[in-house]
Amino acid sequence: MNNEYMPFVSEILDVKKHTDIEYTFRMSYTNETEVKPGQFFEVSIPKYGEAPISVSGIGKGYVELTIRRVGKVTNEIFEHYVGDKLFLRGPYGNGFDVNLYKDKEVVIIAGGTGVSPVRGVIEYFSNHREEIKNLTLIAGFKSPQHILFAEDFKKWEQNMDVIMTLDTNEGDSSYREGLVTNYIKDVTITDYSNVAAIVVGPPVMMRFSVSGLLNEGLKEEDIWISHERKMCCGIGKCGHCKIDDTYVCLDGPVFNYTKGSQLLD
């Protein structure tokens, strides 16, 4: 009988600092189970507890976890550096299925740490540009100090339309200012019957972005979102992430908007 609660040891291979409170940890991962962007791991440091962290990058022998220092567990994780070990369980959740977006015009809207779960999707299509017709990324951060994955953005700009906007550019006019929703109308879509959108971020940002996309003429079934909920187990037992009849950890966190819109707290 498999004991899904027992974590495995994973070594910190690399740490990338984005902001004062947001680092990406490259963690050794050699298990057979394939990892998809949008899935998550339960990351723990014994005595501080576990936290569900979504996968921000996937590579041979490693997964990347972008962690924001907001709680007891994540604070402690920040005390660990290259060579140290953490405990992981997972991957859990459904994640994004890149096949759903193939040959389509793709729009990705992400806010703040919401970039993490979609980073894998962006990376995939950045590397397999031929698999989709068009890719527009709208990313929003609070200020220049809050930008995540800055290097990635430079790379992505080479082969997709990237609109990065800040709540405030603090006088640096090389950055756009304003909410991501302001830029939805700037997205060029040639064929509304062949489009897919992914929206990930804080609840309010997701709500307004989706309504912006719908206004632009997108259909609900062409929009995907990812929910964040408290998860103690990640495996459909603890109950915390349930919304209506749906367990976000099992059935999500990625939902087609036709389903996601029905998940009311």
């Binding site: 014994p46 005595k47 037992k237 209506d244 009849d245």
Partner: protein, 339 residues
């Protein structure tokens, strides 16, 4: 097979059973109630048949036997984890009522299915026999008939105690052999199960998630004190929260455990950074009630609530779950008329 035994002879059987099983049953704990000089009936390992409380509804359910309130999952050092030993090395025999036996199915649904099989539940769930206690009369707040849980299914023994005699209907061959070994006469025994309750509930056919828009939930925001008692006594509530503890201040050694959680209590939905969902008690009440009589069924095909009424028995604010369920029909009318 049916048998009628006095206390001494019943004890002989119980002693035999205890060679291979640990017996859990509701016990009246004198003075352990909420208020001074009040009792509470809850599950305990018992050795004497006289310690079994046959005549009161247990305030807390059998679920604590299969899902310990606080359960250690593993011990750890900085680089190693070691699985916690199983709490019970023998089989278990659990005395419970028909409603609770129906609740076992709900626990199994959650912990053996719904995604992954739960390792810790499984190992306590294996090798368990159920002794269903008859209910000659319905207790206060029971509505098992409405929930279809008044008649037990798949039990090993049914038992009733009347005037010092134990009426036993044994369906388990292994245990029947014990009765035969101690030369018990076979008798025709009928164990009673209620056919009616004073309280009935009706769950509207047209119940939908739209009911969350109803005003009916508002009153609970002021009445409910979010203590979570309704969840902790519920035989079908299965939520838990993880806890990591360390043994000394600077120690690198500790344990991870899980403890029962309540969707009524603060912190249940709190995510890293402090955000939370369902802030008002009315929203929490709605979430709980709909889980019991709406969305669980959507996922699993039958209602979660078994109608034991313990939530009503325990509520310090006299909030009635069954009465709330009975308001759903009006709430559906209210929102349908509004649209």
């Amino acid at each position: 097979m049916g048998y009628i035994l006095n206390q001494d002879r019943m004890q002989v059987i119980l002693n035999e059973l205890q060679k291979d099983y640990i017996i859990y049953a509701p016990q009246n704990k004198v003075g352990e109630g909420m208020y001074s000089d009040t009792d509470v009936v809850r599950y305990e390992r018992i050795q004497q048949i006289m310690d079994v409380e046959f005549h009161k509804k247990s305030n807390y359910s059998f679920k604590e036997v299969l899902l310990p309130i606080s359960q250690t999952l593993f011990y750890y050092t900085e680089n190693e984890v070691k699985e916690a030993e199983v709490e019970r090395k023998k089989g278990a025999i659990i005395f419970l009522r028909s409603c609770d036996l129906h609740a076992v199915k709900r626990l199994d649904e959650m912990y053996l299915k719904n995604g992954f099989e739960d390792y810790y539940y499984k190992r306590l769930r294996d090798n368990v026999k159920f002794v269903v206690m008859g209910c000659e009369n319905s207790f206060e707040n029971c509505f098992c008939v409405s929930m279809g849980s008044n008649i037990p299914e798949n039990y090993d023994i049914a038992i009733e105690e009347r005037d010092g005699l134990y009426y036993v209907d044994c369906k388990d061959d292994e245990i029947n052999a014990l009765f035969e070994m101690s030369d018990e006469q076979k008798e025709a025994v009928t164990i009673h199960f209620v056919q009616t309750n004073d309280i009935t509930v009706s769950i509207p056919e047209n119940l939908s998630i739209d009911v969350i828009k109803s005003k009916m939930w508002d009153e609970y925001s002021s009445r409910c004190i979010n203590c979570g008692r309704c969840n902790f006594v519920c035989p079908t509530c299965t939520c838990f929260t993880m806890q990591d503890v360390f043994y000394t201040d600077n120690g690198k050694v500790g344990e991870r455990r899980r403890v029962h959680a309540s969707c009524m209590v603060d912190g249940y939905t709190e995510v890293a950074g402090g955000g939370s969902y369902r802030k008002t008690n009315g929203e929490r009440m709605r979430f709980k009630v709909l889980h019991k009589v709406y969305d669980y069924k959507k996922r699993n095909g039958y209602h979660m609530c078994v109608g034991c009424g313990r939530c009503d028995d325990v509520c310090p604010e006299y909030i009635s779950f069954s009465n709330c369920v009975n308001k759903l029909e009006g709430a559906m009318e209210e929102i349908t008329n509004h649209e």
